[in-house]
Symmetry: C2
C-alpha cells in the first residue's frame, strides 16, 4: 500500500520505519530538506519531499505534525489528494483535532499512538516503538467503516493494542493519566522553588533522590508538550484539576486533624488500587 | 570497634553488612529470634539476641527500629549501656526523634541515611547500600564533639555523602523533596479513583503509562511510611502542602484564563531548574 507521512519527527519517523519493514511504500513530507534527506537515509521513507504533491496517490496518510498546526496541515494537503485517500492523525488530544479536520475531509479517523520517548526528531525515530503499547482510534458518526477498517489494520500491523472510543472519552481518560500527572508534577517543582530560604532550598536540592526524581519527571519535561495538553484539552484538564484540588484539600484536612489511621487506610487503598493502572504495561509509552 | 544495631531490617541489616566488612564487631538486637538467626547467617552481625544486655560493651549503637517506637527502644536500652556509649538513629524525621531521645541520653547524634529500596526486612539488606547517597547528621547544642566525630567517621566508612544540619533544617528540606512528593502522588491516585464514570476509569487504567507510573510511585508505596512522614513531620509537611496548594491554584488560574504562553514560560523554568535537584544522584536512595 502507498502510505504518506506528513511530519517526520519521532512518531512520523518511527511509523515510517515499521511501515517500510511491513512492505509498504512510504512517502514522507517535511518542510525541512535536511529532515527529508535524513528520513530517506535512515530507511524511514522511500521518498521524501517538501512538496505535498508527492502524496497524490497515497491510500492512507498519517498527519504527524504538532497538534496546533494539524488543521492547517490538512487544509494545505487537500488540494493534492485523490478523492479516496484516508487521513489519520497521531495527536495526543482528539476532540480538538477531530472537530477541526472532520469538516475538511470525508475520510478521516482520529488516532493516538501512546508511545513516546524523551527524545524528539527524526534522529530519535526507532523501530517497534508501538509494539504492545495502546493505540487509540476515535471514530465518530461521520467516520466510514472503510476508513476505520483501513487504519485499524495498519495499527494491528504495528503490533499495538487497539482501543476504540469517542474523541471525548479519549480526552477525559488521558486527562487523568497523562495531562493531570504533568500538571501536578510541574506544580511540585514550582512549590519546591517557592521555598523562600535559600539555604533550605539548597539542602533540599542536595538531599533530593528517586522520590523527587520520579514525581517531578513529567512536570520537568518538554514545555511545548505541557502547554499543548493544557491548551487543546483545556476543559478536561481543568475538570481533573478541580477533582485533584478537592482530594488535596482532603489530604490537608486529614493532616490538620491528625487523622493518622484514616490517612494510613487511604494509603493502603492507594497501594492496592495503583496496580490496576499498571497491569502488563511496558516501560515506554 | 564494637558496634550495636537495634532493629535488623533493611537499614539495620545493610549497616551491619558494611560495618562487618570494615572490620568492626557488630552485635544485633531484634525481638524476633528468626531475624536474629537470619542476620547471623547472612553475615550482617557477629552475634544477635533479643536481650539488650548483649550491647553492654558497645561503643556506638545504631537505633534502626521504626520511627514511632524509637524513644521506647532507647528507654529500654539505657539500663544496659555503659556510660560512654554513643547512640545514633536512622529515622527519616529528626526533630521528633532528637527531642525525644536527647533528654534520655547524653551521647546522642540524630542521623538519617537517605538510602532505601522498595523492599523491607533483613532479607532485603544489601552491601554498599549507603555508598554515594546522602547521610544527614543533626547535632544540637547538646551534642558533644566526641559523639559527633565518632558517628561522622562511621558515615565516612560507609561511603556516604555527609550533610550536617539542625534537626529542623533536615525536616523542612525532606518535607519538600520526600514527604510532599509522597502526599501529592498519593492524592493523584485518589483523584483518578474519584472519576465517577466506571467506563472512563477503566479506559484511563488501560491507557496509563510511564507518566502515571512515575508520578504515582511514591504515593502508592508503603502505607506505614506515608503515615509516619505525616504524623512525625506534621508541621513541615503541612507547610509544604500549603505552598503546594497555592501553586496549584496558580496553575488552575492560568488554565482558566487560557494563559498559554505564561504556562509555557513556567514549564520552561521548571525544566531548567529541575536538574538542580538531580545533580550526580545515583538511582537509589
Amino acid at each position: 500500500m502507498e502510505i504518506g507521512i506528513v511530519g517526520l519527527g519521532l512518531i512520523g519517523g518511527s511509523l515510517g520505519l515499521d511501515l517500510c519493514d511491513r512492505g509498504h511504500t512510504v512517502l514522507g513530507i517535511s518542510r525541512s530538506p535536511d529532515t527529508c534527506t535524513q528520513a530517506v537515509l535512515r530507511g524511514a521513507v522511500h521518498q521524501a519531499s517538501s512538496d505535498m504533491a508527492l502524496l497524490a496517490e497515497a491510500a492512507v496518510i498519517f498527519i504527524c505534525t504538532p497538534l496546533g498546526v494539524m488543521p492547517q496541515t490538512v487544509a494545505a494537503l487537500i488540494p493534492h489528494l485523490s478523492q479516496d485517500t484516508i487521513l489519520t492523525d497521531v495527536g495526543s488530544v482528539k476532540t480538538f483535532v477531530v472537530k477541526a479536520i472532520e469538516p475538511l475531509w470525508p475520510h478521516f479517523v482520529g488516532g493516538h499512538p501512546m508511545s513516546g520517548t524523551e527524545f524528539t526528531g527524526i534522529q530519535a525515530a526507532q523501530r517497534q516503538l508501538f509494539v504492545g503499547n495502546p493505540y487509540v482510534l476515535t471514530p465518530t458518526a461521520a467516520t466510514s467503516s472503510r476508513s476505520l477498517e483501513q487504519v485499524r489494520s495498519l495499527v494491528y500491523e504495528l503490533g499495538s493494542q487497539l482501543y476504540v472510543c469517542t474523541p471525548e472519552q479519549h480526552d477525559r481518560a488521558v486527562a487523568w493519566i497523562s495531562h493531570l500527572p504533568t500538571m501536578i508534577s510541574a506544580t511540585l517543582i514550582q512549590a519546591c522553588l517557592s521555598e523562600p530560604d535559600p539555604e533550605t532550598r539548597a539542602l533540599a536540592q542536595s538531599l533530593a533522590s528517586s522520590g523527587f526524581r520520579d514525581t517531578s519527571r513529567v512536570g520537568g519535561g518538554n514545555p511545548q508538550l505541557g502547554r499543548m495538553m493544557a491548551q487543546f484539552n483545556q476543559a478536561e484538564v481543568l475538570r481533573s484539576l478541580y477533582r485533584y484540588r478537592d482530594q488535596l484539600h482532603s489530604t490537608i484536612s486529614a493532616l490538620e486533624a491528625s487523622q493518622w489511621s484514616e490517612l494510613e487506610t487511604q494509603f493502603q487503598h492507594n497501594q492496592a488500587e495503583r496496580p490496576r493502572f499498571l497491569k502488563e504495561k511496558p516501560r515506554d509509552g
